[in-house]
């Protein structure tokens, strides 16, 4: 098997083997461009949209976690669990412990999400399909029930968290929304870039193989169990970060973070986005928020009708999600390029 790399024919049939480093640099470059563009755009955005985009960033991160799971063939209907735990962990540290540095808090959220996922994952990694979805949902509902009972931390009403600081800098009110927005952009872009690289990596390919045929993967000597655990833990970290981000954007954290409808929203965003593109989750999150918000304002008594119809239409006409819009374009382009060869 250590023969010569490839003969001419196979090289023509598949994209040229880019060096891993070049791919990484390319992705990083795109990420930097996206980040700079978004940060600059942010300066011109009205405050409400800035906030909505920050929220979309947070939701998108959680949904990106679900995309990680989806690529491994699973969907979690209980990402509220990690989202909520991340938010509570960081929120309590901020409101009780006085730690307000956003980066510390985000790290706490990520670790909280990762740890709980790591603990739970071995328990649930052998489940598949609807059972996995429902079991995660049950776990998040247990957390919801427990938090709603803990009156010392606000019970079902939750608690407020202080404004975050940024490496010692405490922005005034006018700047704070923008500062958090920048953090959200940086997180989103970093997460998206790393996810892209991961999806294209051997581990990512293996996860995809797990989705398509677990039996085969086991018969290749790889562990479906560990792939699942790994994906779930990654999703946990992303969920925890999303929880912290949104919790501090809102300034308020409550057990509703762990309610099944919250988790359902994340799944919705992930499905709307599809798993073709890592950037799509953020767009899907933003689109959902905007549709909901405008529907609520113009049709306060029937916004659910609009939101439902919107979701149906997207699922019907973009079966592979919003992300397929541009990845389809991309594929067409490569096909054309190949045709010219």
């Amino acid at each position: 098997m250590n023969g010569p790399a490839t003969d001419g024919r196979s090289a023509a049939a598949s994209p040229p083997a880019a060096s891993p480093l070049r791919a990484a640099l390319l992705t990083a470059l795109m990420a930097v461009i996206a980040a700079v563009a978004l940060i600059l755009v942010g300066l011109a955005l009205p405050a409400w949209l800035l906030f909505t985009m920050t929220k979309a960033g947070a939701y998108g991160l959680v949904a990106l976690g679900i995309v990680h799971l989806m690529r491994g063939g699973l969907v979690s209907f209980g990402q509220g669990l990690v989202y909520c735990l991340g938010a509570y962990g960081a929120g309590l540290l901020a409101s009780r412990g006085g730690v307000t540095d956003i980066f510390v808090l985000l790290a706490v959220g990520a670790v909280a999400g990762m740890v709980i996922s790591g603990i739970v994952a071995p328990l649930i990694a052998r489940y598949r399909g609807i059972f996995f979805a429902m079991l995660t949902m049950a776990l998040s509902m247990v957390l919801y029930g427990v938090l709603a009972k803990l009156t010392v931390i606000g019970g079902s009403d939750g608690f407020n968290v202080p404004e975050p600081t940024y490496l010692g800098w405490a922005p005034d009110v006018a700047q704070s929304d923008y500062a958090l927005y920048v953090v959200a952009v940086l997180l989103a872009v970093t997460a998206a870039g790393l996810s892209r690289l991961h999806f294209d990596s051997m581990a990512g390919l293996l996860a995809q193989a797990v989705r398509e045929n677990e039996l085969r993967v086991e018969y290749l000597g790889a562990s479906v169990f560990w792939v699942t655990v790994r994906n779930f833990t990654i999703a946990g970290a992303l969920g925890g970060i999303g929880g912290v981000l949104n919790g501090f954007a809102l300034g308020h954290i409550d057990p509703f973070f762990s309610y099944w409808t919250t988790s359902g929203e994340f799944v919705f965003i992930a499905i709307l986005a599809g798993h073709a593109s890592v950037g799509a989750v953020f767009l899907a999150a933003l689109a959902t928020e905007l549709v909901r918000s405008f529907a609520n304002q113009y049709f306060p008594e029937s916004w659910q009708l609009f939101l439902g119809a919107f979701l149906l239409l997207v699922m019907l006409f973009l079966p592979n999600g919003i992300g397929s819009l541009w990845s389809r374009l991309g594929r067409r382009r490569t096909l054309r390029a190949e045709g010219q060869e």
């Binding site: 059972f131 009972k149 009708l305 149906l312």
Partner: protein, 298 residues
């Protein structure tokens, strides 16, 4: 002793309520592989329909006994009107897509139903009193129970047995089984698969609506009644094993008894006892209590 008796009776009444709805859910999943989140919405529509039919029958001057018939008719009406619309008009477009996508489609339907019922019936509550007065009170232990509530247990048993016999002892049931396993080959053998899907979906919807209709005398029919049932009946179906009728029955009884035990002994834990049971069951029986046999793959 007395306490145990009440726990059991209360648990069974609650279980019956859950079972009727969960039965429809598990049937739809079993045949169409759809976990129908809109089920709760249809439960609500069933309750609203009863709120229309029962007074209408009363208005005709029919005796109160006919209100039971009215409730049955309202469930049938919902199934006949809504099931084809939903199954043929919408869900069909998503067949072959991922389970989760269809789950979300039904969630979107659920959202829409919330507003549609509001547009049709407004937000004011409706009541359906007549049926509950029919059977008087029954003394069990030292407590009075309303006869109608006990009737729910009978109704649940009729529904469960009926659907089970239908699937397992009739020819059409066997045809349904064939469609479950292999829709394409069944069609090749002459089975009108679309009709079987609609039939199963229709019966599932009928059961949801029936649950709603027979619950309407116990509640104020108004926005929000759909939410209470969804998650719990999901839990029941998962505990029992998706697609299994005996499973749904046992799941409902377990959940009913656990909840009623919690009310007496652990009121603080009532809110999550159902999820705890679900987690426990799944840890020991990953596919639920009654798992279906899988055709071998290799």
């Amino acid at each position: 002793m007395n306490q145990v008796l009440t726990i059991v009776v209360d648990g069974l009444i609650y279980a019956s309520w859950l079972f009727i709805v969960a039965l429809g859910l598990t049937l739809i999943f079993g045949v169409l592989r759809i976990l129908n989140l809109a089920h709760g919405g249809l439960y609500a529509v069933g309750a609203y329909a009863a709120a229309v039919f029962v007074p209408f029958f009363a208005g005709l001057g029919l005796p109160a006994e006919f209100s039971l018939l009215a409730m049955l008719l309202s469930a049938i009406a919902v199934a006949v009107i809504v099931a084809p619309l939903l199954e043929r008009g919408l869900l069909r477009l998503f067949y072959g897509r991922d389970e989760v996508v269809i789950l979300l489609v039904t969630y979107a339907v659920f959202l829409m139903l919330e507003d549609i019922t509001k547009l049709i019936w407004g937000v004011q509550p409706y009541y359906v009193f007549e049926p509950r007065t029919l059977f008087g009170n029954v003394e069990i232990g030292s407590l009075f129970y309303v006869g109608y509530d006990l009737l729910l247990i009978v109704l649940a048993m009729i529904c469960g047995l009926g659907v089970w016999l239908w699937l397992n002892r009739t020819r059409i049931g066997k045809i349904v089984v064939a469609v479950i396993h292999n829709p394409e080959v069944s069609a090749g053998m002459g089975v009108n698969v679309a009709r079987i899907y609609m039939l199963a979906f229709g019966i599932g919807i009928f059961l949801a609506a029936l649950g709603g209709a027979f619950t309407s005398p116990l509640i104020a029919v108004q926005p929000g009644v759909s939410v209470s049932i969804i998650v719990v009946s999901f839990a029941v179906v998962i505990i029992g094993g998706l697609g299994s009728i005996p499973g749904a029955a046992i799941g409902a009884v377990i959940v009913g008894l656990a909840r009623s035990f919690a009310v007496y002994e652990l009121p603080e834990a009532e809110i999550f006892i159902i999820y705890m049971v679900m987690v426990l069951v799944l840890v020991f029986r990953p596919e639920g209590l009654f798992q279906r046999v899988q055709a071998r793959k290799i």
